[in-house]
Amino acid sequence: MKLRHAVILLGLLAVSPATHAHELRPAYLEMREVKTGEFSVLWKTPMLGDMRLSLEPEFSGEAKPATPVSTRTTPGAAVQTWTLRALALRGQTLLIRGLDSTMTDALVRCEFADGTTWSQRLSPAQPSALIPARQTAWAVAGVYVQLGIEHILFGIDHLLFVLGLLLLVQARWMLLKTITAFTVAHSLTLAIATLGYASAPGAPLNAAIALSILFLGPEIVRMWRGETSLTIRKPWLVAFCFGLLHGFGFASALSNTGLPRADLPLALLTFNVGVEIGQVAFVGLVVLLERSFRQLEFCWPVWVLRAPGYAIGSLGAFWTIQRTVMMFR
């Protein structure tokens, strides 16, 4: 299968300076009831350059800050904490003011003293929601499926790795096997890391993920030259091994956005389902583009055909160096 025809554009998209690895930036509001009617609030808003997105949570009823708001900035986000006094939070409508003028979503999680939780994803089209007496499992599932889809579609490094696999694999059956191996592997480590059985430190993990992308570059070139290697013969094996690393990356993203302790298995499962949906959509888009280019009878010059492979290798090298340097800063 000449997938390289189809991925030329995707390669160009990937090398755009606008693309960043691990782009997952919904706002996040966590409210934890520490004693009856008193909530510890954590409000994380994404930054656009040096500016914090102008988003503020508002309640329809009685809910007032009991302490001053403390603000600190982390890479890519501003984190504010305060204590909120609200005797009856259930039944109130929560509005994220300013959300309707962006396309950024806001993930809201509320833990009540009785152990129940409420999770909701608010969007520009629906910037407010009623805090219900009880939340169904379906509602929690919906929130995390969306989060998973978003993470894979905006996590350029994961997509580049999948793109590299698509360039390497010639036959459809092998493609299915390879993508499945990647899926199984990252699902395994995502579960293990999220459930707390293992962890990987962020900085070396990101460098290793970049290294996995860099690894594919020379293998693609080797395949073009008609040479062979273990990766070319058994791409599913490489996909499985590096998939284990990428799973730790997904787990890190999931924990950054917050996890409901009461619904942890459900959130984990549905986040992974979301990741798979996003991944299948990406693979489908590449395969469809390849088919379209074939039907339009494109005859690309050789340098254009080779560009995606070199772009993958170069980006992998750049990220590996960048992230390795960051480890020692």
């Binding site: 554009l9 160009l12 998209l13 755009s16 300076p17 606008a18 693309t19 960043h20 782009e23 930036r25 919904p26 994404p46 656009l48 997105l53 003028s101 962006t102 396309m103 950024t104 979503d105 905006f154 888009l285 469809l288 583009l289 088919r291 379209s292 280019f293 074939r294 039907q295 339009l296 009878e297 494109f298």
Partner: protein, 199 residues
């Protein structure tokens, strides 16, 4: 003489570009993604693109290949021109008329010359691009947003034209023609609305 008429026509259409098409939504993922999402969120822009790619697909692989490059390139050129040339905005009816023409040509499914389809792609791209470019030029990262829009157009036109290029079944061609007629009808409604509101 012929070339100057074509250039004058393109110039007139650029002047007619609509300010309503310039709006860019904030995706929260940076200007490139804002641009990538833009054509899918603005029906004024999306409809002529779909009509054009249906038309190109019906005309076969050669026409499809030309349109896949002509449309995003002209759109990009229109956006870049708007960033440099500061001209007042024109009426919406002109872009509605383009949508009607493109939809009607797809619905008719005649052996239109490839040059005509590619010319229309260039005109539609330049006109809509000029409309987009006015606002993009004023925002931070406008260049990246323009690249995002052009990339989205390339993917949409390649997917649509590519899937249709080898369409042989009679019923499938009829379905595409019906889609073209619907786009022309929507264009008519938009034209009526723009006249009513005096745009």
């Amino acid at each position: 003489m012929k070339h100057s008429v074509i250039l004058l026509s393109i110039g007139a259409l650029l002047l007619a570009a609509s300010p309503a098409q310039a709006h860019l939504m904030n995706s929260g993922f940076g200007p490139f993604y804002d641009g990538l999402a833009h054509p899918f969120l603005v029906p004024d822009d999306l409809l002529p693109v779909i009509a054009l790619t249906l038309l190109a697909g019906l005309r076969g692989a050669r026409c499809g290949r030309w349109v896949v490059f002509a449309l995003p390139s002209a759109w990009l050129a229109g956006m870049a021109a708007a960033a440099v040339i500061h001209l007042p905005s024109g009426p919406v009816w002109m872009t509605c008329a383009l949508t009607i023409v493109l939809g009607a040509l797809a619905a008719a499914d005649r052996p239109w010359p490839v040059a005509l389809v590619v010319g229309l792609a260039a005109v539609a791209g330049a006109t809509h691009g000029f409309g987009n470019g006015r606002e993009l030029a004023a925002i931070k990262g406008g260049g990246l947003a323009m690249a995002g829009i052009a990339s989205a157009l390339f993917v949409v036109s390649a997917l649509t034209a590519g899937q249709l290029a080898t369409l042989r079944a009679h019923w499938a061609r009829v379905a595409v023609r019906v889609a073209g007629s619907w786009i022309a009808a929507i264009g008519l409604l938009m034209l009526g609305w723009s006249m009513r509101t005096g745009q």
